[in-house]
Symmetry: C2
Subunit: 231 residues, 2 copies
DNA sequence: CCTAGTTCCTGGTATATACCAGATTCTGGC
DNA sequence: GCCAGAATCTGGTATATACCAGGAACTAGG
């Protein structure tokens, strides 16, 4: 009786008991598998399941760690990332990987449907307590934000639109689903290729015009999405 | 050069080309792995990745199938499941697995915090085009809905509350995250044990009182959550 | 023609083994 | 004491093999 389910339960129990604290690195896979008398593949299966459940997370070729609490992403409140993180007593950081005009080939179809032909594309990685947890691609209508690249692009885009361009977002369509990370995203987040994640897509409008299209790939154990509605 | 990534791409290409249509069963794992000149484990890894991306789905011990389009779950519109499914031209069905008073041990903590001591528990499975896609556990405050078990529990609970109990939900707190299915849920949905899924939790209030607590475990490839907000 | 029981097939799980490339650690030279 | 290069360790991937229990298909009996 040495299945991955049992191995997962034993590790989960050690975490629940407080024996292993968030951020702590588990031993190496070979080491753990020997300790628990299972093969390395079985141990790996257990870790991958625990990762999907948000109890541990793996950093590619760097080991497995006990997960901190999920970041709570409130779709209702329009607070920016760093403010939300501060409210949860966590440190946040945004890295700009890439910025420029999107090639017309790679213009998202939803922008083309709205008659847009040119857009800026930003690629960013968001960190939480030093860990990279989200990869985002932001498309901004080039007509709406001329000279975008001269601005600070490593902070809240909402605030940039409001303060520098006087654009107030008045509608936001959000979509959430499960999706794989492509190789660029996986590498940027230092996770195994083809890790699965939570994909949030947002279309943001001002005065009926599509201003921004945004895809956010979150590591699945790192986020919890919340929403309060009053019909 | 025979990795799971390449195998996944080849299968994805066949689906994208329309060669394999939604609902169609792929060959057996042994058969496919031989065709593609990879080991069965490698082929399985490819299928599991494709499943996380929503292109195929596995039914435990029954094979792998090409996924139909995701069910679009609009959090904003308060339409019921069957209506939403009909609008998407899909057939929906709800099975009641279990109903009764919840043991006080298994009363969810959020209900206890609201001073509730007794609740009904319903377990249901929702189907889409004949495929089971979601497992839900519904806790209803026993004070709010006396004699609940005499009613039809295989249809919209919202409508039951409104029509039979004159309870109008005026606030709904929703939470979405990634989570594993437990063995009961996996069995009811006919998927492999410890499959990962999308967990939607809802707390529903009427006149400031918690009426209902609901957990919905969706198969990850079967659902897309949408929301439109106008600040 | 329908049913019950047997057989075969399938996916789910487990093992041992191997190799690669990126991270980390160690070590020798300056 | 610092730095660059080498050796080592680690996770990621791939193979072959094996067994089990649930599903599906077939077959024999009514």
């Amino acid at each position: 009786m040495a299945g991955y389910q049992e191995a997962a339960e034993r590790i989960a129990a050690r975490i629940a008991a407080g024996e292993l604290k968030p951020g702590v690195k588990l031993g190496s896979e070979r080491q753990l598998s020997e300790q628990m008398s299972v093969s390395r593949l079985t141990l790996r299966a257990a870790l991958i399941k625990l990762e999907a459940d948000g109890l541990v997370y793996g950093k590619s070729r760097r080991g497995w760690f006990v997960s901190p609490p999920r970041f709570v992403y409130d779709l209702g409140r329009r607070a920016n990332y760093k403010t939300m993180a501060a409210a949860q007593e966590r440190s946040a950081q945004i890295d700009l990987l890439d910025s420029g005009l999107a090639a017309s080939r790679e213009l998202p179809s939803c922008m083309r449907e709205h008659g847009l032909t040119r857009a800026f594309l930003l690629r960013r990685v968001r960190h939480l307590d030093g860990r990279s947890v989200m990869f985002e691609s932001i498309y901004l209508s080039a007509e709406a934000v001329p000279g975008l690249l001269k601005h600070n692009l490593a902070d809240s885009i909402t605030e940039l639109l409001r303060d520098d361009y006087r654009i107030e977002i008045d509608r936001e369509d959000t979509s959430v689903r499960s999706a794989l990370l492509d190789s660029m995203q996986a590498e940027a987040l230092a996770v195994a290729p083809a890790t699965h994640g939570v994909l949030i897509e947002r279309r943001r409008f001002a005065a009926g015009r599509l201003i921004e299209f945004d895809t956010e790939h979150w590591l699945p154990g790192a986020i919890e999405i919340r929403l309060s509605v009053e019909p």
